[in-house]
């Protein structure tokens, strides 16, 4: 009788491990590890654009602060100095509430510095 009790106690533990393993594998496969993103940024939502692109970009917060890979930049000139070549695609990821004319001013400054292809990153809605 005692042996039977012990055997029935073990079963839920093994099924628990199975389920936890399943959830673990789901998160490992479906999720991607993110580089540290600035807190408080709301990405632009858009539908129907071609998915997907690299998410390595220059973040622009709603108050205009520039953040590159977790480091706050003092000015756009600092970004231009840090970037080796402006001939490649320059990725900007502004906050959705950032004023558009401010963004266009920054794009204009980047173009004046020699950037040829500037894109804005949008988060896939849905």
């Amino acid at each position: 009788m005692k042996r039977k009790f012990k055997a029935s106690k073990r079963e839920p533990i093994i099924s628990l491990i199975n389920i936890v393993f399943l959830i673990l594998i789901f998160f490992m496969v479906a999720g991607s590890l993110s580089a540290n993103r600035p807190s408080g940024i709301e990405f632009i939502q858009a539908e129907g654009l071609d998915c997907c692109t690299e998410d390595d970009a220059l973040d622009i917060l709603a108050d205009g602060t520039l953040v590159m890979q977790g480091n706050t930049l003092a000015s756009l000139e600092q970004f231009i100095d840090k970037t080796e070549t402006l001939d490649t695609t320059i990725r900007l990821r502004p906050d959705r509430n950032y004023p558009a004319h401010e963004l266009l001013k920054r794009v204009k400054a980047l173009k004046a510095a020699g950037a040829t292809h500037i894109v804005v990153l949008t988060e896939q809605a849905s």
Binding site: I17, L24, F27, M28, L33, L49, T89, N97, V120, E123
Partner: protein, 128 residues
Amino acid sequence: MSLRRVRQRRRASITSLIDVIFLLLLFFMLASTFSKFSEIDIAVANGSSPGVGDTDTATLSIQADRTYCNETETIDADLVSRLQDLTVAGTNGVLISVSDDVSTQRLVDVLSLVKQVPTLTIQIEEPS
């Protein structure tokens, strides 16, 4: 004696296995993100806004709550069909200007609508 000892060791290893799996699970749940990013071109017109006087360029003036297409107020739902009509009439470019109160979200919303008419070249008027 020896048989009992082996059984006790097996039980201990299962518990620590669960511990490690739970730790891994927690790490991946907290560290992973599911957001995917797309990109949209943003091309600012060079010089002093070329194409304003051209008959084959439409002007699109974006304000916070309304859009004017060739000086006529157009709601977002009608914008694509209106641009397609203009394309049939010979228009091949759009010059977009934004007012000061327009957010980036609004600009991208309109840009993605204009992009649905692939024959149009998009230019955005640079801010003064």
